[in-house]
Amino acid sequence: MRQLSRNRRRYMDNRAAFVFLLPCMLGFILFMVLPVLASLGISLTEWNFLGGLKSMKWVGLDNYAKLLSGKDGWFSTSFWNTLIFAAVTVPVGLLLGLIMASVFNNGVYGSAAFRFVVFIPYISSIVASLIVWQVVFQPSYGPVNSILMALGVENPPKWFVSAQWAFPLIITFQIWQTLGYNIIVFYAGLKNISPDLYEAATTDGATALQKFRHVTVPMISPTTFFLSTMGIISSFKVFDAIKVATNGGPGKATSVVAFYIYREAFENYRMGTASAAAWVMFIIIFAITMIQLYGQRKWVTYD
């Protein structure tokens, strides 16, 4: 009898679990699992979307071979730009974030106000912020160039419309936009470091800089690890800033992998190469995350 009721309860539980999970599973399967599998298939074909399903042609790994061979100039530029983008934004963003978080932690009056203000760029929409940046960096009359000219710079850069300056400016924008996030997360991490460690360092006669180098940096390393992994992933996915600020231009100068994927799929309708590029992107993100996970043993301190 008891066994029976337990079985019945188990059955009811399974049924209830099914009901609770159903909406999630529908979303998960329809909009994630199936698309991932389909995308893998499409990446092995040559397919112009406008030609309908009939025009789909099996090409095996050709798309991947073409992308990685460097014959596709757009992809190569996008690929290198993405690497440069990550290699600059992540370390600079982390360093500035940690320094400012440390200063906000016990170093200033009105720390809460500071933390509130620096976070504003992060929640502000990228599109609105970029429109503002574009006007602020407007080449002929914008305030930045007006200041530069007043300071005696004769030919100030043309910023977003210059092949040379557009990309560095977008990188600066990204650092500006995400800095508040780094500061907030670092700040939360710093709050968890035991004050005793600083006390001990002070007793040993350590200077503020030494305390930063020998207490803060190692103790905060789990946070640094988290932020660097997230930072690398999100800088590989950067799209909005490029699309709105420059549309990849001038020419292909500021294109990145996510922008390349968008352009291939929804402007050139080459779904095969777009999907293959998306998988290349995933594989790189995956590899870097694994290297990070493996490498963390060497530099991350857990207590």
Binding site: G27, L30, F31, V103, I120, I184, E199, A274, F282
Partner: protein, 286 residues
């Protein structure tokens, strides 16, 4: 706390001057950082002819709110974009709260076969970037005639692994004894979920709602790909359109930017604690 208590009065005073200098330096750094946004606010109250006056006039010479009124009228469709964004964002937030909390409850407090394997699969999916799924999602919406509709976007965004993960983490912390007691009293899972678990999880639900509001409001890529008709455009997509149309009406453009950021600022003012919590809980944007 401990540190402050053990400091001697003299040491405290010396640190104070240093703290004061650092505060001033930091204020300058943060002001520089805020330069674009301050300029945006100031310019939004200027008349067009004075926008690029130099040296910069932080307080407008001829202050006006005309930009804020004419954004809504004129042929810019700004009001339509705004309403579309409110519509899509609110629907996505409600959908996520319901769908993700149900899934989270199942993963946190129910027993079923393949639970841990399924949860691991959910988490693994978090690693795959959206870009991989764009083309098939586009095909899918196209084939079920939901391309170029708000419903399509809402359905697609009403579930997120992040939401399930965030809520599950908080529901796991609810003591089993509470749930067992309710079950002995004859409550079924539905009652336990609505009357016990949801009320207890209110703080995390608020966090998810706020995060999702900010992300959906700011989402540019999804509407760019899945909407074609201008009258369906959400604010972010509309803003870039608007920037092309308004061309050199910079003051107007700045007023539009302020208006598009305003709801986020308000939410952040009231929900700062939730936002920070949501971020620190392992937030991957999207």
């Amino acid at each position: 706390m401990i540190k402050a208590a053990t400091q001697t009065p003299t040491a405290h005073k010396r640190i104070s001057t240093r703290k004061l200098i650092l505060t001033i330096v930091m204020a300058l750094v943060v002001l520089t950082m805020m330069f674009p946004l301050l300029w945006m606010i100031s310019t939004s109250f200027k008349v067009e002819a004075e926008v690029f006056n130099f040296p910069i006039e932080w307080i407008p010479k001829t202050p006006t709110v005309n930009n804020y009124t004419s954004v809504w009228t004129g042929n810019y469709h700004f009001g339509e974009y705004y309403l579309n964004s409110v519509h899509v964002t609110v629907a996505v937030v409600i959908g996520q709260l319901l769908i993700c909390s149900m899934g989270a409850y199942a993963f946190a407090k129910m027993d079923f076969r393949f639970k841990s394997q399924l949860f691991a699969l959910f988490l693994a999916m978090m690693m795959i970037p959206d870009q991989v799924m764009l083309v098939p999602r586009f095909m899918l919406l196209n084939s079920i005639k939901l391309y170029n509709t708000h419903i399509g976007i809402i359905l697609m965004s009403a579930f997120s692994v992040y939401g399930v993960f965030l809520l599950r983490q908080s529901m796991v912390g609810i003591p089993d004894s509470i749930i067992e007691a309710a079950r002995i009293d004859g409550a079924n899972h539905y009652r336990i979920f609505f009357q016990i678990v949801l009320p207890i999880s209110r703080p995390m639900l608020a966090t998810l709602a706020i995060m999702r509001f900010v992300w959906t409001w700011n989402d540019y890529q999804t509407p760019l790909i899945f909407l074609r008709d201008q009258k369906l455009f959400t604010l972010q997509l509309g803003m870039s359109q608007f920037a092309d149309q308004a061309g050199t009406k910079y003051a107007l453009l700045m007023a539009a930017s302020v208006l598009s950021i305003l709801p986020l600022l308000l939410i952040f003012c009231f929900g700062q604690k939730n936002v920070v919590e949501g971020m620190a809980a392992g937030a991957v944007k999207g």
